[in-house]
C-alpha cells in the first residue's frame, strides 16, 4: 500500500480510507527474504537463480529430480521410450490447469519446450538431435530423435540453469529474448502481478486449482502442496538488516545467512540449515585471446599459483561453511574425478615462478574482474590477486558490479582497451555436474563462452558424452575432459560452498533441495 502519490494528493486520502479497512496481516502468510533481487520474471529468458526460484513457485515441470538425483515424472503421468531409443511418448497427468482455469495441453508443453530449446544449453543440445516434437492429442506428445541419447529425461528434469518450466502457449510464444507478460502458471502458487513492486516485494498466493501428486515431496518431485495462503517475498539488500529482521520475527525465512553473521542468529527462535547440500562451485576462467594467458605455460603458472584453501577462507571464514574441491564436475556428484585435482587445489608458488620464467612472462598486466556487489564473491578476486602477485604476476583489479562484469566480459580486446584476463563466477553444482550442462569446460573459440578457449577436442568429447549409452562410458569421457580442461587451464575451480538458510521456529516442513522451494512449508501461530 502506498502512502503518497505524486499524481494527486486526493488519492492519498482515498488510500488512507481504504487502509482503515485493509485486512490484517494474514497469520498464514510466509514472509521471505532471498539473497538478491528478483529482477526478471521470465525464468526462460533469465538464468538468474532468483528468477528460477520464482519459477518453481508458479510453474511446474514435466519431470523432477528427487533427493536421490533420480528423474521422476511430475506433470507427466507416464512415458514410453521406443527400443531404439529414438521415440519418446509422454502422457500428461489429469487435472493440470492454468491459474485461469483452462486446462494444460500438449500444445502448451510443446511451445514451452521449443522456447527452452532455443535458450538452454542442454535444450539446444537436445534440439540438435531432435527430429520432431509433436502432439498426439491434448494429453499425449511425441519426441523423435535423430540419434539416441541417454540424457533426454535429465534435460527435461534439469533443476537449475534454465529448467524446463511449462508455460501457457500464449506466454511461450514470446520470443525467448523478450520477457513474458503473461504470468499464468500451473504450479502450487499463483503470482500476483498487481502486487509486484520490483525491488520491494513480490507476492504469491496459494493456487487453489493445483492438483498435487500423491507421492511424498522430494526435491523437485512428488507432492507440491502449498501449505500457506500467501508468500510475500521482500527485498532486503543488506544481509545484516535481513538477519536482524529474522531475529525480530519481521520475516520468517532468510535464504542466505552469511557465515560471519551466524553468531548473531538467535538460535532459540531461529533454525538454520543447509537446505541445499549440493551447493555451488566457484571458479575462474582466463582470456585465451590476449596476453599473458594466450600462453599455455602462463596459464599453468596461474593454476599452480592459486590455492583454494586461502581464497575460500578469506571469503567464508569458518571452514564449516566452504568445501575444497578440485573436481570439474563437482564433489560428491556422479562425475567427480580426481584427475589433476590435487594440483588444482594446492598452491605451489615455486612451480608457478618456474613456469612463468619458462614462459618468458614480461609483466603483462593481468586484469581481474572484482565483483564487489555480491557478498559471497567480494573477497575472491583480491585474494586471487594476492596469490598471483606472490607468484610474480603483475595484477590489476577491475572493480565492477556483477551485472556490468557480464557486459564488460564480452570485450575480446587487450587489457589496454578495456579487456580482461580473469573473471570469477559461481555455478550451482546442478549446473556443472556433467559436461553437457557445464559452461566452464567449454572451449568453442571466439563464438563460445567468455574466455574463448579453442580446444576442439573438448567439444568432440562432449558430443561423445551426449551419445554415450551408459554411465560408465560417460564417466570415462568426463574424466578425460577434466584432464584436458586442466591441462589447457580452460577454467580453474576455486572451491565449493553451500548457503545456510535460516527460518523461524514457527515454520515447519522446510524441505531440502538444490533450489529454494516453498511448497510443504507451513507456519504455526506461535
Amino acid at each position: 500500500m502506498r502512502y503518497f502519490n505524486f499524481r494527486a494528493a486526493g488519492l492519498s486520502a482515498a488510500l488512507f480510507g481504504a487502509a482503515m479497512f485493509a485486512p490484517p496481516a494474514l497469520a498464514n502468510e510466509l514472509r521471505v527474504v532471498m539473497e538478491s533481487r528478483l529482477g526478471n520474471l521470465d525464468p526462460i529468458m533469465s538464468a538468474s537463480h532468483q528468477t528460477r526460484d520464482h519459477g518453481y513457485l508458479i510453474y511446474d515441470t514435466l519431470f523432477g529430480l528427487d533427493a536421490d538425483q533420480k528423474v521422476q515424472p511430475q506433470m507427466v503421468d507416464s512415458y514410453t521410450v521406443s527400443d531404439d531409443g529414438l521415440v519418446y511418448t509422454f502422457t500428461l497427468r489429469d487435472g493440470l490447469a492454468w491459474t485461469d482455469g483452462t486446462p494444460v495441453t500438449t500444445e502448451d508443453v510443446i511451445a514451452s519446450i521449443k522456447r527452452w530449446g532455443q535458450r538452454d544449453r542442454m535444450g539446444i543440445a537436445l534440439m540438435s538431435i531432435t527430429d520432431s516434437l509433436e502432439a498426439k492429442d491434448a494429453k499425449t506428445f511425441v519426441l523423435t530423435l535423430t540419434s539416441p541419447s541417454g540424457v533426454v529425461l535429465e534435460a527435461f528434469a534439469k533443476p537449475s540453469g534454465v529448467p524446463l518450466f511449462i508455460m501457457p502457449k500464449e506466454a511461450a510464444a514470446t520470443p525467448f529474448t523478450e520477457q513474458i507478460t503473461d504470468y499464468r502458471g500451473s504450479g502450487p502458487f499463483r503470482f500476483l502481478p498487481e502486487a509486484y513492486e520490483p525491488g520491494v516485494k513480490s507476492v504469491y498466493v496459494k493456487n487453489e486449482a493445483y492438483v498435487p501428486r500423491s507421492e511424498p515431496p522430494s526435491w523437485f518431485a512428488g507432492a507440491k502442496i502449498a501449505k500457506v495462503d500467501r508468500i510475500e517475498r521482500i527485498e532486503m539488500p543488506d544481509p545484516l538488516t535481513a538477519v536482524n529482521a529474522l531475529n525480530s520475527g519481521e520475516i520468517d525465512y532468510l535464504q542466505t545467512i552469511p557465515p560471519d553473521l551466524l553468531p548473531l542468529v538467535q538460535t532459540d527462535v531461529i533454525k538454520t540449515d543447509k537446505l541445499d547440500q549440493l551447493g555451488y562451485q566457484i571458479s575462474i576462467r582466463m582470456n585465451f585471446l590476449q596476453p599473458p594467458f594466450d600462453n599455455k605455460l602462463v596459464r599453468q603458472a596461474a593454476l599452480a599459483a592459486l590455492g583454494q584453501e586461502e581464497i575460500m577462507q578469506a571469503q567464508f571464514g569458518d571452514p564449516e561453511s566452504y568445501q575444497i574441491c578440485g573436481a570439474a564436475f563437482g564433489c560428491g556428484l556422479p562425475y567427480e574425478s580426481d584427475v589433476m585435482a590435487e594440483e588444482v587445489v594446492k598452491p605451489d608458488p615455486e612451480k608457478a615462478k618456474a613456469l612463468l620464467k619458462e614462459a618468458g612472462y614480461n609483466g603483462e598486466p593481468v586484469v581481474i574482474f572484482h565483483v564487489s556487489d555480491i557478498s559471497t564473491m567480494s573477497a575472491l578476486a583480491p585474494t586471487i590477486a594476492q596469490q598471483l602477485r606472490e607468484a610474480g604476476f603483475n595484477v590489476e583489479l577491475a572493480t565492477t558490479d556483477f551485472m556490468t562484469m557480464l557486459s564488460r566480459r564480452a570485450n575480446q580486446g587487450p587489457t589496454s582497451e578495456g579487456g580482461w584476463s580473469i573473471f570469477v563466477t559461481s555455478w550451482h553444482n546442478t549446473e556443472i555436474e556433467d559436461p553437457l550442462r557445464n559452461y566452464m569446460i567449454t572451449a568453442e573459440g571466439r563464438e563460445g563462452y567468455a574466455g574463448w578457449a579453442d580446444v576442439p577436442e573438448i567439444g568432440e568429447k562432449i558430443h561423445d558424452f551426449l551419445l554415450a549409452s551408459d554411465y560408465d562410458a560417460r564417466k570415462k569421457i568426463a574424466d578425460d575432459i577434466q584432464g584436458v580442461v586442466y591441462d589447457e587451464v580452460v577454467f580453474v575451480p576455486i572451491g565449493g560452498f553451500a548457503r545456510v538458510t535460516g527460518y523461524s521456529s514457527k515454520v515447519e516442513g522446510v524441505l531440502p533441495a538444490p533450489a529454494n522451494i516453498f511448497w510443504n512449508i507451513s507456519k504455526s501461530e506461535n
Binding site: D238, P239, L240, N244, P258, D260, L261, P263, L264, E309, E310, I311, Q313, A314, G317, H370, S372, D373, S375, S378, A379, P382, T383, A385, Q386, L397, A398, T399, T400, D401, T404, R408
Partner: protein, 289 residues
Amino acid sequence: MQKVQDLPGKAPAAARSRPRSRDWPVRVACAFLVFILIVAVVGPFLTSGDPLHINAANRIKPPSAEHLFGTDAMGRDVFARVIYGARTSIIVGFVAALASLLLGLAVGLLAGYFPLADATIMRVMDGIMSIPSIVLAVALVAITGANLGTVLIAIIVPEFPRVVRLVRGVILSLRSEPYVEAAISLATPTWRILFRHMLPNTLAPLIVQGSFVLASAILTEAALSFLGVGLPPEIPSWGNIMAEGRTYFQLRPGLIFFPGIFLALTVLSINLIGDALRDRFDPKLEKRH
C-alpha cells in the same frame, strides 16, 4: 545592491568583530587537520601493517595490540587501512576541490565578463545543478566504472557549477566597481582587467568556497564508496572501509565507527576552518548552500 559605506562615524557597526575567545574551535580544527595531513603523508611509516595484505586466518578480529582497530572481513589491518584511507580521502578531496575551483573559475570568468556566453553557460550550470549531486555521481560512477578518475569526475561535475556561480557573481559585482570602471577608462585591455583587477578579488571567496568543496568532496567520495559505487574496494578509503564493514557492523561496530569518526572530524575541521576564513575575508560572503 547598494553597499552602505562603513564610515568610522558609524562605529557601532564595528560590533560585528568578534571576541577572540571564539577562535579556539578553529585552532583545534587547524591542529587536527595538520595532524591528518601528517598522517596522510607519513602515515604509511607509522604503521607496520599492509593495508592490502589479506590474512584469511585472521578475519574480523576485535581491536588488539597487534591490530589497534581490529581486522576486516579479509583479515586486513583496519588501523593501517584507516591511516592509508586518510591519504586517499585527502588526495581525492584536494584534487577534486582544486579541479572544481579551476574549472569553475575559468567558466565563471567567461560567464561573468562576457554577457553573450553567460546565458548559455548558466543554463547548462542550472541543468547540472538541478540533478542531485549524489544521484548524478552514483549514475556516473556506476556507469563508467569505479576508478579514481571517474570518482573524481563524479565529484567535480556536480560541484563546479557552484564555483561558476560564485565567480560569476563576484565578477558581475566587480564589473560595476569604480576601480574596474576606472581601469576601463584607462583603456586597460580586457584580459588585464580580468586577471589583474578581478581575479585577485575572487581569490578570497574561492578559498572559502574551496574549503567547502574540499569538505563536500571528501563526504561525497565516502558516500559513493559506501553505496558501492565509489573507489575500487582495494584502495583503502574511509568510505570503502565502512562499506565493507556494513555487513559486520553488529559484530564489529568499529569497522564503521573508526573510519567514520576520522572522516567526520576531518570534514568538521575543514568546515570550521572554512567558516573562519569566510568570517575573516567577508562576513557577507555567500552562505554555504
